[in-house]
């Protein structure tokens, strides 16, 4: 008789305590799986990268590793050419982002202004096509098309215009890279801007027109402010994506000639897989990560999601 009572009396407080624990921290329990996933896919690799950046020789045994202080960072910025690759990356990111935004908006505005539905969808499909090409195949095709002896682009320039075609990949490598990326990714901006433009109420534009606002004023003072959230999100996504550019540029120039188009991503790759300097690659990656995260946060803080979603 007494045995079951005893068991019950000891187990009840335990389960009650458990339930209390569960109830008190309910939000945390719900978050736990997601946090775990985040730790595994974001925090752990980041921490491991930091660990690699701070040791002498890579080793799996954490306790056997020799602490290197900041020497890997020093190597990265002296011998590793990190500074140069940061400059190259920023040049590419800023110019490509500007070009893609402007062209994307222009195309979107033009297509939105077309009356015939069929023509509209024809242009829509046509402008989106380049985005469907895989970066590496684009680079490979690009190399052939730009080849000064057997490529179609120099051939057309030489025969159809009075100008002599430059050697795209060696005379103007950075510009070539920027233009190719623009060609590849303008469609992305086009799609989003097009959707944004379609969401601007006709009545608003009509009202401005009736008030006598010329076309450019309608865009600058009515349409674009209305589209601000769309412009912001599209630019931010593209910005982050541009910082990650690798395939097109590596396939096209391998970062050359010399290091003329060596993006940070290519520099990291070369340190890692060609020079076999994992620690230096990790150091550059850490600096890059911090810079990109900081930049994005500054932009978000300046423009502000709150204002955007109003």
């Amino acid at each position: 008789m007494s045995t079951p009572t005893q068991t019950e009396s000891t187990s009840q407080p335990t389960s009650a305590r458990l339930r209390e624990l569960w109830n008190d921290y309910l939000p945390y329990w719900f978050m736990a799986p997601m946090v775990l996933v985040m730790v595994m896919i974001t925090f752990f690799p980041g921490a491991y990268d930091l660990y690699l950046a701070l040791i002498e020789e890579p080793t799996l045994n954490v306790f056997a590793a020799e602490f290197a202080g900041l020497s890997n960072f020093e190597t990265a910025f002296t011998r590793g050419g990190a500074l140069h690759s940061f400059v190259v990356t920023i040049t590419v990111v800023v110019s490509a982002l500007l070009l893609e935004s402007l062209l994307g908006f222009l195309l979107a505005a033009l297509v939105a202004g077309v009356d015939s539905g069929r023509t509209k969808s024809f242009y829509r499909v046509l402008f989106i096509l380049p985005m469907a090409v895989a970066p590496v195949s684009m680079a490979t095709i690009g190399r052939i098309m730009l080849n000064s002896e057997i490529g179609i682009v120099p051939y057309v320039i030489n025969t159809a215009t009075p100008f002599a075609a430059p050697a795209f990949l060696s005379d103007i490598p950075l510009l070539t890279v920027i233009l190719l990326d623009t060609w590849n990714w303008t469609p992305f901006m086009f799609i989003i801007f097009y959707a944004g433009l379609s969401s601007v109420p006709d009545t608003l534009v009509e009202a401005a027109r009736v008030d006598g606002a010329p076309l450019w004023r309608r865009y600058v003072h009515v349409i674009i402010p209305y589209m601000k959230p769309v412009v912001f999100v599209a630019t931010l996504i593209r910005l982050i994506d541009l910082f990650r550019t690798f395939g097109v540029v590596y396939g096209l120039t391998q970062g050359g000639p010399g290091t003329a188009t060596q993006l940070v991503s290519i520099n990291i790759y070369e340190q890692m897989f060609i020079n076999n300097q994992i620690t230096v690659a990790a150091a550059i990656a850490i600096v890059y990560l911090v810079l990109v995260v900081a930049l994005c946060n500054v932009i978000i803080a300046k423009v502000g999601f709150e204002g955007v979603w109003d």
Partner: protein
């Protein structure tokens, strides 16, 4: 009725055989490998079996076993074991694969292939040896040979060469291997021991357009000065054809692979004093770089600094270049095959050299090695010996379309010469006899990359050849000192 049963029997047997061969890498223990009894039974009904090979094996072996049984080697001492081969997708693999049943029959050792694309293979190999997993008994080895050797990952082969049950010098004829191939298999001068056995070799040669030579009355150049003159003549007199093409793209297998030929011919070498003096700022290197850079700038295509080997090959194939100044003789089939629009008019000659310089074209050998941690290194050695032996090599080159032998006897073989073309064979043979491959010191990939970047800058006109090479020298020395 009986015929029906026979057919079903045949289909079943074929099915089993097909499954066996499809299973490829993962093929385990029993079936296909040795006896091949059920594969043979399908056809065994009608014909009486060939029976030319020794002992009762029903299969037609590609090479008669007697070729190997003469050797004073105990081939069957590891009967019943299995070796793993790690290889890249490469012509050597397809050329030797049909002959592997001969090895399996000869030794009773089963061969399992792990074939991967080059980049993936490198990663896998690195993991396999550095973690001590030892999964690959035999694996492809390249420019990282000294890095691997100094890490203590490679198994030197000398103990096996000294074991009389594993090796018979009179049969293997090591002197038939090209000196340069043997030298590269000894870590390019950095090792006293065999780091592996060479399986394929390519050597640099010059390619030219015979039709343009006839048209302009040119003669094949032996010296750099003559070559430059020939390139100039074609460049200036042909509207759509550049004088020459050559690799300009950076990468340790790209532009410097070509330049290294010329710098040795100018009397310099990589590492005058290892590891303190790279030799890259010596007169020989600077002269070689100046010659190569100005050749490509003056008579090469626009944007020569970005040309990879495939650009070089396709420009020549399209008939848009008069020469390839110096590149792998392996281009020959591509230039004279159906992909080439100038297939009938391509000539091949030895790479040019300075008038007062020594002819010494660059060559590259792939080799196969075994690791310290491999479970079956001795079996692996037997395989390496068999694969690089004269009978196997000759068979691959006579019967299976290969043209990369590391054995002189193959290049001297009349049947082979008539198959690949007398001129190609002779030029290759003479080039290989005097070839000087790159010595890949342990940090070659690292400083070679930077050296090639500097050369690329010079070709692109961003700096002079002298500035580029001086900079490359300090980078290379810095990498070893730091």
């Amino acid at each position: 009725m009986p015929s029906k049963r026979n057919r079903r029997h045949f289909l079943k047997a074929t099915g089993v055989g097909l499954l066996g061969s499809l299973a490829g890498c993962t093929r385990g223990g029993d079936s296909s490998g040795s006896g091949g009894s059920d594969g043979g039974s399908g056809s065994g009904d009608g014909s009486g079996g060939s029976g030319t090979a020794s002992e009762g094996s029903g299969d037609d072996l590609a090479i008669p076993l007697s070729e190997y049984e003469d050797a004073d080697i105990e081939w069957r001492q590891f009967e019943g074991s299995q070796i793993n081969i790690g290889a890249v997708q490469h012509p050597w693999v397809s050329a030797i694969k049909p002959a592997v049943p001969v090895f399996e029959e000869l030794t009773g050792i089963e061969v399992v292939w792990n074939i991967l694309p080059e980049q993936q293979f490198r990663t896998k190999r690195q993991t396999d040896v550095s973690t001590g997993a030892g999964q690959f008994d035999v694996f492809y080895m390249d420019q990282v040979v000294n890095q691997f050797r100094e890490e203590g990952w490679l198994q030197p082969l000398d103990p096996y060469f000294e074991d009389s049950s594993l090796y018979d010098e009179a049969w293997y004829k090591p002197d038939d291997l090209f000196e340069s191939s043997k030298w590269q298999a000894h870590g390019g001068g950095y090792s006293d021991t065999w780091t592996g056995l060479p399986i394929t070799v390519e050597v640099q040669t010059q390619f030219y357009r015979q039709d343009l030579y006839d048209k302009h009355g040119l003669e094949v150049a032996e010296t750099l000065e003559e070559f430059r003159q020939n390139a100039k003549t074609i460049h200036e007199n042909e509207s759509d054809v550049v004088g020459t093409v050559g690799r300009g793209q950076k990468g340790y297998g790209m532009n410097i692979y070509i330049l290294n030929t010329f710098l040795r011919e100018f009397g310099s070498s990589l590492w005058t004093e290892f590891p303190t003096d790279s030799g890259l700022d010596t007169d020989g290197v600077i002269n070689a770089a100046e010659w190569y850079v100005s050749l490509l700038q003056d008579y090469g295509p626009e944007g020569a600094s970005t040309q990879t080997w495939s650009d070089v090959l396709s420009t020549m194939q399209e008939g848009r270049a008069g020469h390839i100044v110096s590149d792998a003789n392996l281009f020959w089939p591509g230039l004279t095959g159906s992909d080439s629009s100038v297939a009938d008019t391509i000539g091949i000659a030895k790479a040019p050299r300075p008038a007062d310089g020594q002819f010494s074209p660059n060559a590259f050998n792939w080799q196969i090695s075994t690791s310290k941690n491999a479970r079956n290194s001795e079996q692996a050695f037997l395989f390496m010996l068999w694969a690089t032996s004269q009978p196997t090599n000759t068979w691959m080159h006579l019967e299976n379309g290969a043209a990369f032998s590391v054995r002189q006897s193959v290049w001297e073989n009349d049947e082979f010469r008539s198959r690949v073309g007398e001129n190609f064979a002779q030029v290759t043979l003479e080039s290989l006899q005097e070839a000087a491959p790159d010595p890949f010191d342990r940090k070659y990939p690292q400083w070679g990359q930077r050296y090639s970047e500097e050369l690329q800058r010079a070709i692109a006109g961003q700096k002079s050849a002298e500035e580029a090479m001086t900079r490359a020298a300090s980078i290379a020395e810095d990498i070893y000192s730091g």
